[in-house]
Symmetry: C2
């Protein structure tokens, strides 16, 4: 038993909006973190964050404070169970502000990820290893099956996790040797002009990338032209993903993709509003085998993911590490994906998301999905220098993390410099 004795939350913002990095059809953000530090009597600390897009980061910080009493004074192990997590997600007063979505749920994600980070640090292992080597019963106990039991039961989850023990050593050996496939999103932000897109794509190919993502959702003729540039630079053998960031209506998505499928996209990401399960299903039906539908970065919770799977709405599930209620709810989503045979390619970028989700993909490979086929982790080459244990990416692949924890501990000097609004980066 390890009691959490203290909690601090930091509002950390990076002024990225001005450069157009991260610009897409619907966002233009200052990448920010609601950064949580948990203390224990023994001195080991836990670190978690939720990613936000700039303004409003004070709201997720305040939500962390509002939920803090469910964490401080409580036991790490207890908070890593479904019942423990539910003290945050089903608080009899705060639940009204969601339920299980938006500001309050993102704050729960930062807190519960910090708790799980603490657990991994206490065990002295990286998060992927903690999870991959936990007994099946402990993993099942971490999943809140409430409201998803019509799609997956604890018994079915246990069977999936037990199956994941077979061949574990071989997969671990392969993951250690080969790492995990990645793709880059840095070539095709909407804020970049054609020549910048072309030169970045060319450089990406030189750097070994065989999978790249572009933003779409501007005027469709521009999207088509940019898709042509990128496809011509990467050649027919590499993967091209497209991301509309929810800007299209359902009919518009279908019509625009009728033109864009000519460039053989591996997936179309967020073709319409993130809550629109039936809309995604309609788009996937219209595209058929020609293109997979992908979504998840703003998927509110396991109930939305459950329905996307039940409706056959997606071919790619893009779990996010900190929009949902931390590791426990991500486990639910990975198990649901496996149950429905859908490929998981986590959402990353922002700040700290690459650091987080590498652990999820390695765990998924080792214990749940058991395959790297068609699976990739998003990679954006921004802001890694602010972390004490940044991702290591080489030749288009993530290398297996080695240090204990969930890899989102930030450097003290970065926290101080980018603290909002008092840090030098903002007060100057």
């Amino acid at each position: 038993m390890t009691l959490i004795t203290g909690l601090a939350v930091h509002d950390v913002r990076f002024p990225t909006a001005a450069a157009g990095d991260g610009s897409d059809a619907i966002n233009r953000g200052d990448y920010s973190a609601t950064y949580v530090v948990l203390e224990t009597a023994g001195g080991v600390r836990g670190f978690g964050l939720t990613f936000t897009n700039g303004r409003g980061n004070e709201l997720t910080c305040a939500a962390v404070e509002a939920l803090g009493h469910h964490v401080v004074g409580h036991d790490v192990g207890e908070l890593c169970t479904a019942e423990g997590a539910r003290t945050l997600t089903a608080d009899v007063q705060l639940r009204w502000l969601g339920p299980e979505k938006g500001v309050i749920h993102m704050a729960a994600g930062a807190l519960l990820n910090a708790v799980w980070d603490l657990r991994a640090r206490l065990a002295g292992v990286p998060m992927w290893r903690l999870l991959a080597e936990l007994p099946t019963a402990d993993l099942v106990a971490a999943v809140d099956f409430r409201h998803i039991s019509d799609a997956i039961t604890p018994e079915e989850a246990a069977a999936l996790l037990d199956r994941g023990l077979e061949g574990y050593a071989e997969r671990l050996e392969r993951a250690t040797r080969e790492g995990f496939p990645a793709y880059t999103t840095s070539v095709g932000w909407l804020g970049y002009d054609d020549e910048k897109v072309r030169s970045l794509t060319r450089q990406a190919v030189k750097d070994g990338w065989t999978a790249v993502k572009m933003k779409v959702g501007g005027p469709i003729d521009d999207d088509v032209r940019r898709a042509g540039i990128i496809r011509s630079e990467i050649g027919p053998g590499s993967l091209l993903m497209m991301d509309a960031n929810q800007v299209w209506d359902v009919g518009e998505a279908i019509a625009n993709m009728e033109r864009l499928v000519a460039f053989d996209p591996y997936w179309i990401e967020e073709p319409t509003h993130a809550d629109d399960v039936l809309g995604h299903a309609a788009i996937q039906r219209a595209l058929g085998e020609r293109c997979r539908v992908a979504t998840g970065e703003v998927g509110a919770n396991r109930v939305i993911f459950k329905q996307l799977l039940q409706a056959g709405a997606i071919g790619i599930m893009q779990v996010d590490a900190c929009r949902v209620a931390g590791v426990g709810e991500v486990l639910a989503e990975l198990l649901l994906a496996a149950r429905f045979g859908v490929t998981v390619c986590p959402h990353a970028g922002g700040v700290g998301l690459c650091e987080y989700v590498q652990h999820l993909s390695f765990f998924d490979y080792l214990r749940v999905g058991r395959s790297m086929e068609g699976r990739m982790i998003e990679y954006v080459d921004h802001l890694h220098e602010h972390f004490t244990d940044p991702v290591r990416v080489a030749g288009g692949r993530y290398l297996l993390p080695e240090r204990p924890g969930y890899s989102v501990e930030m450097r003290p000097e970065s926290i101080a410099h980018y603290a909002y609004p008092a840090g030098p980066a903002w007060s100057a």
Copy 2:
């Protein structure tokens, strides 16, 4: 053109949790308001609120501050259009915190309702009349069709609203004479024991109520016993509604309702998680003609309502006045309901919700749904004394509001007394 020149937000909380009023399967709240006051140079003020459940009200207040710059310095008329509302709901940084859900969206609701209140006060008419007598083109311009155009187009909305002009005078005469049917939720909170339920129900019948709602979602045997008490008190001719407040899983909801249909419920409200469109559809299919499924009080936005209708998941749509982005988004929901032929019975109770939604039901009757058949407004006899223009309910019916605006202006002495945390109600 009327510019908004100032904005104030108040954190107002009523200590209701201790009494068990408002207790249900999932909430035990201190009914609270994120209360917004807008100023204009001419001195006319606008009032809006979003309802919360106690702790966390500081988050919606802070979200109002975060969105305030889209309102202060802007024109009332412009903010009453879809494009105006979208400056709040699609802010390039704040949208990430939703999108269009939870804390940030509820704050948009408080602000935009205050803008619409201001518009009605400037016109010198109650909200229902402002809306019911607006030209069709102005109403259509207030609706954001983005992400719902696959279910309703501006042309279809215009046709519905034009049709609502026929027979308008007769309906207005009837509404003025008869008011609008109501039901009471005050008899069957989960926190009440059997004898309190029985005596409250008996009193409600004496007071003229012919429709009452009970909470379910406790142990099923208790629910069955309480349903028996209430049905025996109201007799076979009155309506009994049941409300599970999302506590059941899908299979559990179906199994429990197999027992509860014996008491002939008019609807089962929130049988499972509010985001679970497919789950509601499965429950409605299982119940068939025996009981309608109802939901809406935490329906996040028009995209969720669209899908509930597309999936045939509900027979009753319970719009909430301030969880979504104010009058404009409620208009979208009312038009969607009419398009799919589904009955609207707004969610009320809490604090200020009865004051708000009476305007919506009268407008719906006068211009959109054009019927009172099977339609009712929820009524809870709490906290009306804090408003300057409280609802008037007699013989189980709401009377038509007469004073200008949206009826949620609070008395200054109530704001001062219940201000959190400094007011005497909390600092004592």
